[in-house]
Chain length 253, copies 2
């Protein structure tokens, strides 16, 4: 099993993702938030690279079941229903809804990742679910870290390293690691003892604390608190079990 890793999404060549299995990581906060939203009953999350695209997509959907969500530079977008704090995505707010989601970093990865053969959403809150899924279907995959404003982010890299470490523990000889995957595992082994402390060390975590989102950090550090697997299904993110139900029933017209 070969593991490649991109520390920033600028490195993505969309076309080369076509046949790939992709693990998309944006710990603070898109991956955590989307996973929480789907676990709490959202019907689907539709990633949009730009605010304009989000508004346009939402305009084509029924208003009473659609929520506009996301952030720019960690702040809620004017006129949107939800920001990018996972704590906002309660069952009361999101059950049955289609959420059109645009964020500074993560949404870019999800939007580009539509070309992938398979794309799953990963963060600390669902990491063992991701590792178990990858371990159960041994094939090459690429981890894409969202980073922060185009730069390397510590928390995404440590999360990536925890995935690699989890697979290496079960199968140390069966892995072929690109240098980035190896380095991420080294970073996880250095910073993994306290995920919360690591989140508070990274630059984006420090910014979020300054902006009053300290509770978000504590939530995003809760390893395996939301043990579900969001995957890309066409152009939308759904829980894997829901995407599979549809596959069994045949395409919904």
């Amino acid at each position: 099993m070969r593991i490649e890793l991109l520390f920033t999404p600028q490195q993505i060549d969309e076309m080369t993702l076509r046949e790939k299995t992709v693990v998309a990581i944006d710990v603070l906060r898109a991956s955590t938030t989307i996973t929480t939203a789907l676990h709490n009953g959202a019907r689907e999350v539709i990633p949009a690279a730009t605010v304009e695209a989000a508004v346009k997509i939402a305009g084509n959907l029924a208003g009473d079941v659609t929520l506009l969500a996301g952030e720019r530079n960690a702040r809620m977008i004017q006129g949107f229903h939800l920001g990018n704090s996972p704590l906002e995505y309660t069952p009361e707010k999101v059950r049955g809804k289609s959420i059109v989601f645009s964020s500074t970093n993560g949404a870019q990865v999800f939007a580009k990742g539509r070309m992938a053969r398979e794309l799953m959403v990963c963060s600390f809150v669902n990491i063992t679910t991701v590792v178990e899924h990858l371990g159960a279907q041994p094939r090459d995959f690429t981890i894409i870290c969202a980073g922060t404003n185009g730069s390397f982010s510590l928390e995404d890299s440590v999360c990536a390293g925890m995935v690699v470490h989890g697979l290496a523990e079960g199968n140390p000889d069966g892995l072929s690691l690109a240098d980035g995957a190896l380095a991420s595992m080294t970073l996880y082994r250095s910073y993994g003892r306290s995920i919360l402390k690591m989140l508070k060390t990274g630059e984006h975590g420090r910014l979020l604390e300054e902006l009053g989102f300290g509770d978000d950090l504590a939530y995003c550090a809760r390893v395996d608190a939301v043990p579900v697997l969001p995957v890309m299904d066409g152009n939308v993110l759904k829980l894997k079990r829901d995407a599979e139900k549809k596959d069994i029933a045949g395409p919904v017209s």
Copy 2:
């Protein structure tokens, strides 16, 4: 002193380099080779992003003092005088010569880095010279790792981390580290005990060994063996002391 770090050159926005101090790292092998060539008496090294550009530049220079040098995918380019093994760049071959240099990864960084306010070439063989220079003129800088074919490379990142570590030792409170700079320091502290072993761990080092360049790895691992500072001077790389001589004497016509 703020330290930013780019693990791959795709992240370079040439225009934003304009006012920046840049440390360009391609351990295997462009940084090591260029530093060796200048130390062994080459007049200058002219980086060229493409083979075509290299041939064109060389065509405009006097043939008897010009050498075409570099590699594509670790192999010498047909018709070129030198490859990218630092061991080829002996005083006998390079003294007094202008070397037009094109390599798969490093030359891209040097070619783009022309826009920088100051650009220095760094590898393990001249690392303390680089750290001392940075420490003596405390200002923000950006480390750019050449990586390998657009991907993260272990050896460039560990070398970057050794620079950050060297500066942090002298001035632990005076540094503001971007996440990438912090991560590189963590990698250096994990892998720095044996640079040669680390070079043999990374993918590009393993490829070079397979291609018969094992002696290059041993050379590239020789910390401070070539204690000089190559810098960008206009469009060419020179030793800093030679660039300064010219500044004192006025521009050479």
